[in-house]
């Protein structure tokens, strides 16, 4: 018996290691239930030798990619948290301090910022894939609900995070987004209940900060956990064509994805760094405000339509997407074989893209 085995045994007698491993491995490493009645070594051996389908291949890896990216965000976020000062006055200076003076702060902030943009793109792609393959077919409705909630919460993370540097461009971006939230019925009530009002002051800044670093990540983490649990319970959607044992095949594939993601984030943060040119000025609107791409369709609607109508359209769109599993009751086959759903989804997609493009060129 080796030394490592002795240590393992010592711990096994005192801690329920199987449950701990079961919790950790919930997050996308082993999709199968973890046997709790055997010893750690045996159960690990059993689980790792089970074959899984090629889930580390496009487009199946989107889910695990989002979770890895989320871990990236948490890791870089904690590092940023150490130096950021949560106040209207000091926010900008501390951001500049992080970029300028903190060792590798420049890369950490760049990776955190680009990670926020990438994760939303990944979530959107995943939602599109869900619609294409109709993965939300019963009993997997919750997959869609979780995915959509993750999208909403991540968008909110993006908005709250945008305010934190307190630079001129970012301040006005959030100001515009708040104007959009203000016209959506019910949502505006919830927002003003949680955040006071629609004016960016020091209290709003503090609340945004707390949401960004604590509450929303906590919710997200819970939803991720629930999502993985339901995946474990219900199993995979598609019938596996090619199988491979979890270790080493699947495990190393995830590692390769992780490495590539690091490279992409690092390159983006060096080649396209964020520019926080000057501190915010609430009395001077800059001529051009670059809104995030997923806000642009709503911005276009808000500007071009009367406030109430625009708000109602936005609300209906969000509710429609949220309750999609109960609205779309077609068979779970690829999208092009379901003409009606295909037409509707293409129309909604085109509508979002076209209004988004118009919203980008709006003065």
């Amino acid at each position: 018996m080796s030394f490592f085995d002795k240590v393992l045994k010592w711990f096994e007698k005192r801690v329920h290691l199987n449950e701990l491993l079961s919790f950790i491995t919930t997050f996308g490493i082993f999709y199968y239930p973890f046997p709790l009645d055997k010893s750690v070594k045996e159960s690990l051996k059993e689980v790792t030798n089970r074959p899984v389908p090629y889930y580390s291949r496009w487009p199946y890896f989107l889910g695990i990619l989002i979770f890895i990216q989320f871990l990236f965000q948490i890791f870089t976020g904690i590092l940023l948290l150490l130096y950021y000062i949560p106040s209207m006055e000091k926010g900008y200076q501390s951001t500049i301090f992080i970029i300028r003076d903190v060792p590798i702060g420049y890369y950490i902030l760049g990776i955190h910022r680009w990670g926020g943009i990438l994760i939303i793109i990944f979530v959107m792609l995943r939602l599109l894939r869900f619609i294409y393959h109709k993965i939300y077919h019963p009993p997997r409705e919750l997959f869609w609900i979780f995915a959509f909630l993750i999208f909403l919460l991540l968008s909110f993370q993006y908005i709250t995070g945008t305010l934190l540097p307190m630079s001129d461009g970012n301040y006005w971006k959030v100001e515009r987004i708040l104007e959009i939230i203000k016209v959506i019925p019910f949502v505006d009530r919830i927002f003003s209940f949680l955040y006071g009002n629609f004016m960016i002051d020091k209290y709003m800044h503090l609340r945004f900060y707390i949401s960004h670093v604590f509450f929303t990540p906590l919710f997200l983490f819970c939803i991720f956990y629930l999502h993985f649990l339901s995946v474990r319970k219900l199993g995979f959607f598609t019938s596996p064509k090619k199988m491979e044992p979890i270790y080493p095949g699947y495990f190393y594939d995830i590692f390769i994805i992780f490495l590539l993601l690091t490279g992409i984030l690092f390159s983006l943060s060096v080649l396209f760094p964020a520019k926080y040119i000057q501190v915010f000025d609430p009395f001077k609107t800059p001529p051009k405000i670059a809104l995030p791409f997923f806000i642009l369709p709503f911005h276009f609607l808000k500007v071009k339509l009367p406030d109430t109508l625009a708000g109602v359209i936005m609300l209906i769109l969000v509710l429609f997407l949220f309750f999609l599993p109960w609205i779309d009751r077609s068979k779970p086959i690829p999208l092009y074989k379901r003409p009606l759903v295909f037409l509707v989804s293409i129309m909604i997609l085109l509508f979002l893209i076209i209004t988004g493009i118009f919203g980008f060129y709006l003065k």
Binding site: Y106, L259, L271, I277
Partner: protein, 380 residues
């Protein structure tokens, strides 16, 4: 009667104000009312009665005419005993008679400005009150009442554009910005003893504020020769009322008026002009680089401080240039220029250092691909 008593009680109006109610509001806002100077001090009469005849007896003067008004005012304002407690000067009458206004007044001209023309009649406010006619902000307007009147000024052969010209000048711009040191009309012409400064005195008047400039100007060859030639000193290049913000182009525009293009003197002017322009360009380039770095962001506090230092030397060189000595100007410009060039060099070095971060990218990608290759190799 009850109404009259009512007014009497409410407004503390003495007898005069009961009937002369049209004056009451105007007068009650003025400084004289606040200091309890009664109507009878200027107009005579009896204020303690409401009987019209009795009130207008007792040495009643009525409205003092333009010729008498100076006497009425100076009764108090030339008395040291009365003025000392307020800290006011009591030499206005003497000064007034030394002014162009006073000289003409003595000769019997009724049109010239007397006390009430500038200070108002009943509603007289201290000059530091923003509503006062003699406040710094409204002073050009007040002088302009007469000095912008073409028909009136034509009689005396004076230009009626002075206030207009002044309003376009850098001095007026600074006053509007709130600079307390910038002069209005009275800054150069004085208040009660208002005279236009004569030739030979202009540099003294301007030198009150532009001390260093005057110092260097007096050193120059110009100052000696221009006095002999009766040539206007500062005014010659900078004009009198319409004093523009000077640019270095003045060396090219003004010197050519007297000096030939090929002459030695014009060469000096050209040399000084080149010195200033090159120095300014160097500073601008340094500022541009610094701004670029600041946007990245890179620490540039040090550069900003040093650019300020360079600018200070450049500003110091401007009064020195009035001595028309290339050597003296050069000594200041050289300092400024060397700082600006140093900042540029360091800024470029810092920028290159920052951009060198991109070299890391290929190395990073190489490491990633190497690791992936290793994994794939060992999995087989």
């Amino acid at each position: 009667m009850i109404g009259m008593i009512f007014i009497y009680l409410i407004f503390e109006a003495r007898g005069c104000m009961v009937c002369h109610s049209e004056v009451r509001k105007e007068y009650s806002e003025g400084v004289h009312y606040k200091e309890r100077i009664e109507c009878i001090s200027c107009h005579g009469g009896n204020e303690n009665t409401l009987d019209i005849k009795k009130a207008h007896a007792d040495g009643f003067k009525g409205i003092p005419g333009r010729r008498k008004v100076i006497k009425v005012c100076t009764y108090c304002h030339s008395s040291p005993e009365k003025m000392k407690p307020y800290g006011l000067s009591f030499d206005q009458e003497i000064l007034y008679y030394t002014s162009e206004h006073g000289e003409a007044f003595k000769k019997g001209n009724d049109e010239v400005a007397v006390c009430t023309d500038c200070h108002g009649v009943h509603r007289i406010l201290p000059h530091n009150d923003p509503l006062s006619l003699t406040n710094k902000m409204s002073l050009p307007l007040m002088c302009g009442k007469c000095h912008s009147d073409f028909n009136m000024m034509k009689k005396y052969g004076i230009s009626s554009d002075v206030v207009l010209e002044y309003n376009l000048s850098i001095h007026a711009e600074e006053v509007r910005k709130g600079n307390p040191h910038s002069p209005t009309c009275v800054g150069c012409h004085s208040t009660h003893g208002a005279v236009p400064p004569g030739i030979g005195d202009i540099e003294k008047v301007c030198g009150k504020c532009h001390i260093r400039t005057r110092e260097y100007f007096l050193r120059s060859y110009h100052s000696k020769v221009w006095k002999e030639l009766d040539y206007l000193e500062c005014e010659g290049c900078h004009s009198n009322h319409y004093v523009e913000k000077t640019s270095h182009d003045l060396w090219k525009q003004k010197c050519i008026e007297c000096h030939e293009r090929e002459s030695k003197s014009y060469k000096i002017a050209e040399e000084i002009y080149t010195l200033f322009i090159t120095c300014e360009n160097e500073i601008l380039r340094a500022e541009k680089l610094t701004e670029e770095l600041r946007k990245i962001p890179v620490d540039v506090e040090d550069f900003i401080g040093r650019i300020e230092e360079a600018k200070t030397y450049l500003i110091e060189a401007e009064p020195v240039s009035h001595s028309i000595s290339v050597e003296e100007v050069k000594s200041f410009i050289a300092k400024s220029k060397s700082i600006a060039e140093e900042v540029q060099r360091e800024a470029i070095r810092k920028k290159k250092l920052f951009e060198s971060k991109r070299i890391l990218l290929p190395i990073f990608w190489f490491l990633i691909f190497f690791t992936i290759a290793l994994i794939i190799y060992y999995r087989r």
